[in-house]
Structure formats: C-alpha cells, structure tokens
C-alpha cells in the first residue's frame, strides 16, 4: 500500500522527467536506428546544450535565442563526430567518445565553472507557467506540446526528398552512392541533427531543474537507448511514425519504471545499474530466444 501511494505521488514528476529526456532519446534513436551508426556523442552534446543555454540565460539572453544557440552547438558536436568518422575512417563509436571527452572541457569553458544555477533567472517553465516553474503535470503538458511539434516536424522531414535520401543512406550506403547521394554529406547532416536534438534536450533539462552541471550527461545515452528499445517493444518500429514515437513513449515509460523502482526502495544511485541490466537484457533477448528455439527440449 505504502509502495503504491509513493509511486502514485511520483507519477506527475516522472512524466515530466520522461518528457524532458524524450528529446535526447530521439537524438539517440536517430543515429542508432535511422542511420545505422552507433553514436555516443549524446553524452557530450546533452550537457553541451545545457551548458550553453544556462550560460546564456544566466547572462540575460532571451530563452528562444539561448535555446537556438544551444541547438546549434549540439549540431556542431554531432557534425564533428561525423567528420572524424567519415574523413579519418575512425569507427563512429570511437569518434563519439573522442568528441564527448573533449566536450567535458568545452562545457566547463562555456560556463566558466563546472555548473551554473538558474534559480533567479527566467526559464521556459517560469515564463509559460508561473514564477516557481509550474506544477509537474503542467510542465508535462508544455513538454508534450513541444514533443508533438518535434515529432511532426521529424515525420514531415523524413518524407521530403532529403529525408528519404537520409534514410536510404542509413539503410544501404552502396545503394545510396549509386543513386547519386553523397553519403559523407548525409552522415554529417544526420549526426548534426541528432546532436542538435540531444542539445535541445540538455537545454530543456537545464531549465527544468534550473541548473546545469558538467556531469549531467553521464548515462544519458543508455537512458536514450533504453527508451528507444522500450518504445519499440510497445509500438514496434515497423513504420516510420512508430519509429519516431518509440523513444518518446519509451522515455515516458522508462521513468515510470524508475518511479516504481524508487518506490520499491531502490536508491537513485542504483538506477544506472538497473538501466544497464535492462538494456543488456533487451540486446541479449534475440540471442536467448534463438537458443531456446534451437533447443526446444530444454
């Protein structure tokens, strides 16, 4: 009973949190699923977006321009990973690790210190809701509208000539080149887009918690992956619409599981272990299934 009421009280906050992380989850889904390029840059571009937005807001810049510049910074980080990958033939994973490592120093440079508080500054939430940032459920409503707009935009883009071409590059690079597509340019643009979304997520997070910290990216990639996998399990990734919605739905669901785990008495510091185990389980599932299929007697 106690567990249930604890969880019940956590629902609004966990929905809002899930919605905040949904942005970066989309930014993780794009390289992994649409481009077939495993990319870890989100761990660096998410805090980069937070750092840029926080530093600019703390300096009195407006919310829209601050978020716009955060987005741009994230796009540059993503593009850098892509350039390292395509021009120097470094695997995308390693390229991302190099960039996210460099981002740590850059993020501290951007803020001038390891963290920035925004408690006395206006944010998206204080402007749209009220001075204390609004109740979790209204925050969730605002974020849902933003996410819906983002998903629609992505859905539209992926049906344009350029978007279709991007998906072709993600599906088969030999075919794409033979059809006149510069795989180099599309990979750079695709990872830049993913980086922009991760940074947008970071800038929303900084405003949501009125605080940016250089370490806030740690674990964000696995959360994004967990969200994507969860969402695909619920929706299936079989159509483009479902593939786009999967990280969003998955992120909302993921934070429900987090709330349940916390209600059950797990410590917040246990969550990374649990998330890692979940992703491991999801990745191992096809293997486990085929083992069982091959040995039905067991």
């Amino acid at each position: 009973m106690d567990i249930l009421s604890t969880y019940y009280n956590l629902i609004p906050v966990s929905l809002a949190q899930g919605a905040v992380y949904a942005f970066v989850a989309i930014g993780v889904m794009i390289p992994f699923r649409l481009l077939s390029l495993p990319d870890l840059t989100a761990e660096g571009s998410f805090p980069l977006g937070a750092a840029v937005a926080a530093a600019l807001l703390a300096n009195g810049m407006g919310i829209m321009p601050a978020m716009g510049l955060a987005l741009l910074a994230g796009a540059l980080a993503g593009a850098l990973t892509a350039v390292i990958h395509v021009f120097f033939k470094v695997t995308s994973l390693l390229a991302g690790i190099i960039v996210l490592t460099m981002m740590f120093s850059i993020n501290i440079r951007v803020m001038g210190k390891p963290n920035t508080a925004l408690f006395s500054h206006d944010t998206l939430f204080t402007i749209l809701l009220n001075a204390d940032g609004g109740a979790p459920i209204t925050q969730f409503a605002v974020l849902s509208v933003m996410l819906a707009a983002l998903c629609l935009l992505l859905y539209w883009f992926l049906h344009t000539e350029l978007g279709l071409a991007l998906r072709a590059v993600g599906s088969n690079q030999t075919m794409a080149r033979a059809q006149g597509l510069s795989t180099t340019l599309y990979i750079i643009a695709g990872l830049a887009g993913a980086g922009a979304l991760a940074a947008l997520g970071g800038s929303v997070m900084a405003q949501y918690q009125s605080y940016a910290d250089v370490n806030m990216g740690v674990g964000v990639l696995v959360i994004g992956l967990a969200a994507t996998i969860l969402g695909e399990a619920i929706l299936g990734g079989s159509t483009l619409a479902r593939q786009i919605l999967a990280p969003v739905v998955g992120s909302l669901l993921y934070f429900q599981f987090v709330a349940i785990a916390l209600s059950l008495g797990f410590k917040p510091s246990d969550l990374k272990l649990l998330t890692g185990l979940f992703v491991l389980f999801a990745l191992a599932l096809p293997m486990i299934r085929s083992k069982f299929k091959r040995n039905p007697s067991r």
Binding site: E161, L162, A165, N172, A178, Q179
Partner: protein, 267 residues
C-alpha cells in the same frame, strides 16, 4: 563511327589499378584497360575469375579509385568525380541482390529515390502521388506483382525480386551508361532468366549503352553488340557484332585459350 558519335559514348583509356602497392599482397587488378562504346552499344564482358572485370566496373562507377587512366562519358572526363556525382550518368546493378536497394525503405520509396538520381534534392515531398502510376507501369512488365506491393518494405522481397527492382531503378531514367556485374549470378535459374529478359528488353528497346559482365557463354554469344574478353587486367579480345555472331561456345573457349597462351609465351 564518326568522331562525334564516339565522343558521345563511353571512352575508357589506360586504366591502371594496383591494390596494396609495395606490399607482399600487391595485386595489379587493372593493367591498361582501354575500349570505347558508341551510344546505345551493348557490350558483354567475359573473363576468368580474378581477370579484373568487377574492378573495371567499380573503377568506372567510382567505387574504386584508379591509379592512372581516363574515363569519359558523353564527352565529360569523370575519372576524378566521386561515385555519387558519376551516378548522374551511370547506374548499376550489383551481383549481390542486397546491395542495390535500401531494405528498410518501401518499394515506392526506393523508386522515388532513383527517380531523382542526378537531380538536386530539396525539402519538397520525396514521393508524389502522381509518381505511383509511373512506378506501377514500370514494374508491371516484370510480371512479379510488385506493382501491387508499392508500400511493402524491400526487406520482404526475395533476391530475384530485389534484383528486378534494382534493374527497374537503374533504368527508370535512362542512364548514359548501365553497369551490370553478374547481376543474375545469385539467382535461381528461373529468376535469373526473368531478370535477363527484363534486362534485354530495357537495354535493347531503349538503346541504353551497357556493360554486362557474365560467366554464361551462351548469354555472351546470344546477346549484345560487342564482346570484350578480359585477362590479367587487360582487354585481350574485342569482337564487334558481326564477328561475334559467327561464334559458338566452343570457339569462344578456344579463342580464350589461344589468347591466354599467346600472352604467356610473350611474357
């Protein structure tokens, strides 16, 4: 053939390619490949394994960077261009049915991408409703029913169906040069036969300049306007249509052995 007509076709001259130069694995795959094709000419390429046929096609398409030599199509020197730029002039069907299509996209999306090969892509919609009719009538002659499955993902298709789709994609807009690398080798005999028939109808009806690699001697004799035989990175035999018409399979094998042993004696 007039000089102007020749200019409009394909001229390949002195292609050289050595893989892993200066190492123990050094392999000279192309050793001065030269030939030219008149517009609309359909050339069959034969030669033993490792003769350099695929490497030559990859060099023309841009997937392999040559060490030396020039390639011109419709009067443009393209040897310095990246693959995707050459795709404005060249289209191709690969030996591996998996390589020619994007599996996670639908049939109509694949066709829409190739319908825009060589054109500038923008934020316009990637697939117009009006194009579907065009795609249907392009797919219908295959007799595979693909025209009724436009919204199916290509990953659902068999190898033969994918290869047929790739062929339609390659010829939807007539290219200046069509490259076919043993494109029926991975198919069962029935599918291979069907793909060959659609190839011939596309190439011959529409007079597309074509290079087709095959190991099938009957095909090599029965079809095409030219026969190029490759050996050790060179074109060692180049027969025009009338000479080719007199050949039998046995002749071809004899000619091949003659050429090979002549070269061995010379070297």
């Amino acid at each position: 053939m007039t000089a102007a007509a020749k200019q409009a076709g394909v001229i390949v001259s002195g292609l050289q390619k050595t893989f892993f130069p200066g190492t123990v694995q050094e392999k000279r795959a192309l050793d001065g490949v030269s030939f030219s094709l008149a517009p609309g000419e359909f050339a069959i390429v034969i030669g033993s394994n490792g003769a350099g046929k695929s490497t030559m096609l990859n060099a023309i398409s841009g997937e392999v960077q040559v060490d030396e030599g020039t390639i011109s199509i419709a009067g443009k020197a393209i040897e310095q261009w990246p693959t995707h730029k050459r795709a404005g002039y060249i289209s191709r069907v690969f030996q591996d049915p998996m390589q020619g299509t994007a599996a996670s996209l639908t049939i109509e999306e694949n066709l829409a991408i190739s319908a825009r090969r060589g054109k500038r892509r923008s934020f316009r919609t990637g697939l117009h409703a009006a194009e579907r009719e065009e795609f249907r009538s392009a797919l219908e002659p295959l007799g595979l029913g693909l025209e009724n499955r436009l919204k199916d993902r290509v990953s659902l298709l068999s190898g033969g169906q994918r290869q047929s789709l790739t062929l339609i994609m390659a010829t939807l807009q007539a290219p200046q040069l069509l490259l076919l690398d043993e494109h029926t080798a991975a198919l069962d005999p029935r599918a291979a036969d069907m793909v060959i028939r659609s190839t011939l109808s596309a190439v011959e009806d529409r007079q597309i300049t074509t290079l087709m690699i095959t190991h099938n001697m009957e095909q090599a004799i029965a079809h095409g306007d030219r026969l190029l035989m490759m050996h050790e990175g060179r074109v060692v035999l180049d027969l025009a249509k009338d000479e080719k018409a007199k050949l039998t399979t046995a002749d071809l094998v004899t000619r091949f052995h003659d050429v090979v042993s002549d070269r061995m004696l010379l070297s």
